[in-house]
C-alpha cells in the first residue's frame, strides 16, 4: 500500500534584506555590474520551500603587499608572482571565478614602511582599474589606521558602492561616516554572538546608515578552532531573521580563508602526525571545509584565499542552487 507523506514545509515571516553592492556607470560608479546579496525567504538551499533569489557569493582576498611569510607556501605558490602586484593579483583573482575582490590592507606597504591613507589611495586606484567586479575593502584591523585608510579609500572610490570593513563596537563611527558621505556600505563585525551582532547593526543604523547598506560579519573560527560557535551563531541569526526580527535580517559575510590559513593544520609542513596527511592537500582542504560549513550555515559572502577553494566552493554553491 503506498504511503502518502506530506513533506513539512516551514512558513517564515521574514526575509533576508537585499543589499546591492557595486555601482555601474549608469549608477554613478565604474563597475561592470552590481551584485545583490540576500533576499532569501528560507534556510540555505531548501529549494522545496523557496528558491533563493541570490546565491552566496565568493570574494577573493588581494593584499596591498606580498603577504610573504604571513602566508604558508601552499598558498603563496598557488598565486606566484602576481602577489607582488595588487592589480595583477586582482586580475588573477577575477580569473578564478571570484564574484568580488576583497582588497585587504596590511599595516605596512611592500617595503615594510607603515601604510598611510595616501599610499592606500594609489593601491586602491590600481585595483579598481584592474577589475570590473564590485569591491570589498578591509583595513588592517587597527582602529587609527583603519580610519585613515578607509576614509581615503571611501573618498577615492566615491559612488562605487564599496563594502568597507570592519566596523567594530569600539571603532565604527568614522568608517560609517565615510561610507555615508561617499555612497558606500559597511560590514559590522562582532565576536560570535547573536545579540552583539544585532546591537552593532542598531548602532550603525542609528547613525543614519540605511539597513540596505549594512552587511554583518558574525566572525567565525576555523575548522577545529571554534567553527561550531560561528556555525551556530549564523544559524541562529538566520532563524531570527526568518522569524521576523528586522535587525538580524542583514546578509552575512565571513572570512574562512583568513581563519583557516592561520591554523597549524594549514601552516605546519613538518613535525605533525602522519594521520594529518599531505600538507598542501590538507591545508587546502582545511580552507575548503571551513568555508563549506559556513556556506551551509547561511553565509552570503565567504572571503577566500586559495584559487582552488574558490573553484570548489563556487561549484558547491552552483550544485546547491539547483534545488
Amino acid at each position: 500500500m503506498p504511503v502518502t507523506v506530506e513533506v513539512p514545509v516551514e512558513k517564515w515571516a521574514g526575509t533576508v534584506r537585499p543589499v546591492v553592492l557595486g555601482a555601474t556607470a549608469a549608477e554613478g560608479g565604474t563597475r561592470s555590474h552590481s551584485l545583490t546579496l540576500g533576499g532569501q525567504a528560507t534556510l540555505p538551499f531548501l529549494g522545496f520551500e523557496a528558491k533563493a533569489p541570490h546565491p552566496p557569493r565568493v570574494a577573493v582576498e588581494v593584499w596591498n603587499r606580498n603577504p610573504g611569510e604571513d602566508w604558508p607556501e601552499p598558498l603563496t605558490s598557488a598565486w606566484g608572482a602576481v602577489l607582488d602586484d595588487p592589480a595583477a593579483w586582482t586580475q588573477a583573482a577575477e580569473a578564478t571565478g571570484a564574484d568580488l575582490i576583497a582588497l585587504r590592507f596590511a599595516t605596512v606597504d611592500e617595503t615594510g614602511a607603515p601604510m598611510t591613507g595616501g599610499k592606500a589611495r594609489q593601491v586602491f586606484k590600481a585595483v579598481l582599474k584592474a577589475t570590473g567586479l564590485p569591491l570589498i575593502v578591509f583595513g588592517p584591523g587597527q582602529a587609527e589606521l583603519d580610519n585613515e585608510i578607509l576614509v581615503a579609500v571611501a573618498e577615492e572610490g566615491a559612488g562605487e558602492r564599496l563594502l568597507l570593513g570592519s566596523c567594530e563596537d569600539k571603532n565604527y563611527r568614522t568608517i560609517v561616516a565615510a561610507a555615508l558621505a561617499n555612497g558606500h556600505f559597511v560590514t559590522a563585525r562582532t565576536p560570535m554572538d547573536v545579540n552583539l551582532s544585532k546591537q552593532l547593526t542598531i548602532l550603525i543604523h542609528d547613525m543614519g546608515m540605511p539597513l540596505e547598506r549594512i552587511v554583518t560579519d558574525p566572525t567565525t573560527g576555523a575548522l577545529g578552532y571554534g567553527i561550531e560557535y560561528g556555525y551556530s551563531v549564523m544559524e541562529r541569526l538566520r532563524l531570527a531573521a526568518l522569524q521576523g526580527d528586522t535587525m538580524t535580517q542583514q546578509p552575512m559575510l565571513v572570512t574562512p580563508g583568513e581563519e583557516a590559513w592561520r591554523t597549524k593544520e594549514a601552516r605546519a609542513a613538518e613535525g605533525v602526525p602522519a594521520a594529518w596527511g599531505d600538507w598542501a592537500t590538507r591545508a587546502l582542504n582545511w580552507e575548503t571545509m571551513t568555508a563549506a560549513a559556513l556556506v551551509e550555515s547561511a553565509a552570503d559572502i565567504v572571503v577566500l584565499r586559495h584559487p582552488e577553494t574558490v573553484r570548489r566552493i563556487k561549484h558547491m554553491i552552483a550544485e546547491l542552487q539547483q534545488a
Binding site: 504511503v3 507523506v5 506530506e6 513533506v7 513539512p8 538551499f45 531548501l46 529549494g47 522545496f48 611569510e69 604571513d70 584591523g141 573560527g221 576555523a222 575548522l223 577545529g224 578552532y225 571554534g226 567553527i227 561550531e228 560557535y229 556555525y231 551556530s232 544559524e235 541562529r236 532563524l239 592561520r262 591554523t263 597549524k264 593544520e265 601552516r267 605546519a268 613535525g271 602526525p273 602522519a274 594521520a275 594529518w276 596527511g277 599531505d278 592537500t281 590538507r282 582542504n285 582545511w286 575548503t288 571545509m289 563549506a292 560549513a293 551551509e296 550555515s297 570548489r312 561549484h315 558547491m316 550544485e319 546547491l320 542552487q321 539547483q322 534545488a323
Partner: protein, 407 residues
Amino acid sequence: MALSGLEIYKLLPASSKDPAEKAHGNCKECGYPTCLAFAMKLAAKQAELAACKYISEASKAKLSAAAQPPIRLITLAADGRSSKAGNEIVLFRHEKTFYNPAGIFVRVADTLPADEIRSQAQAVADYKVDYVGLALRLDGVAVEVASGDPAQFAAAVAAASAAQIPLILMAEDPAVMAEGLAQAGGVTPLLCAVAHTFADSLSALTQLRRLALKKNFRPLGYPAIAFPYLGGGGADMEMILAGQQIAKYAGFVVLSRFEPAEVYPLLVLRANLFTDPQKPIQVEPGVYPINKPTADAPVLVTTNFSITYFAVANEMESSGLPAWLLVADAEGMSVLTAWAAGKFDAEKIAKTVKGTSIADQVAHRKVVIPGHVAVLMGELEEELPDWQIKVGPREAVDLPRFLKTAW
C-alpha cells in the same frame, strides 16, 4: 515525540469515557493522589506506566508509542568497536545538541585482491588522530559488491571483517547479500540510500529529519546513510558533500576512499558539530610547546576553554615566535569568566606552574599572565616567590607585539 502531562492525563482512567474504566479514576493505587499527578510524573519520566492497573489497552499503546525516540538508534557493532546513529531530537545543534556523531565509513570494492582489502580495512581500523586530547577515529568499512559474484563478495567481507570494525554491506541482489552476511555474522544491515547530489541530499535529509521530529512519522524514523561519492561533482567534491551530510543530517556517511588529508578535516568537523553546545570542548590542561621553544622561550598562561586556547595558540603559531603555553584547568571557561567564577585565580595559576614540568623546561623564571587578570599579580607573587610575574596583553592578537617588545 514526548507527550505533555495533560496529554497523558487524557489517556488515563479519570478522563475515560468508558464508565467501567472511569470508575477507577483517581484510585491512588499507583501511589499518586490523582490521575493528573500520575500523568505529570509520567511526563517527567519519574513514574512507570505499569503502575496503573486500569488503563485501557488503546491508551497504553498510544503512550508506549510516544515514548519511542523519533529517530531509532541503530548500532553497528563489531568486536569491541561500534558505531551508533539515531536518537537525534533537534534540527539545529544550538537547540540542544546532536547526540550520535555521523558514522564515517570507507568503501572497499570486492573486486580488489583480498590482501588489499585486508590492509585497507586495517588502515581504516588503525587510523587515529589526536584533536585537543580527543582521539578521533573512523567507524568502519563498507564492502561493496562490484563483481556481482556472491563468492567474491563473501571473500571480500571475510577479508574486511578481519579488521574487527563495524561493516556496512552494499549489495542489491539479496542472494549476494546473504552470502556476505553469512561471512560477517551479526552485522546489522542498513537502510535507505537517499538522494545523492548536493541539493537533493540536503532536501531529502532535511525532510527526513523534519518528518521524524516534527510529525513523528515512524516509517522514516531511522538514521539515513549517505554516499557522497555519488554526488556527481568529481573526486574533490566528495569531501565537501560528506561534510554537508555530516552537518545535515546523515546517520552514516560512506567515503569512496581512505585519504588522511580528507578524513582528518571531516573527523574534526564532526567532532565540532557534535559537541554539546552547553559543554564546550575543553583542552587538556598542561604544557603546550609552540614553534619548537627552547629553555629561553616565554611562558604564557591561559585557561583550558578551547576557544581561548585556540585564540592564543593560533596567534602564537602564526607569529612564528616560540613559546611555552601553560594551560590551567579552569573548567573550560574563558579567562574573564573563569576569573569571575574563581576558577582562574592566583592559587590555580600557581598550582599549574608547580604541577607541570614547566620549571624543568625553561631556564628562566618568568611567567606571563593575561592582561584581563592583572589584579592577580600581587597575590601570585606571594604564591610563586621564585617567579617574576609579567602582565601580558588582554587580547591574544596583541601577544606577538608584546613578546617582541616587553619580554
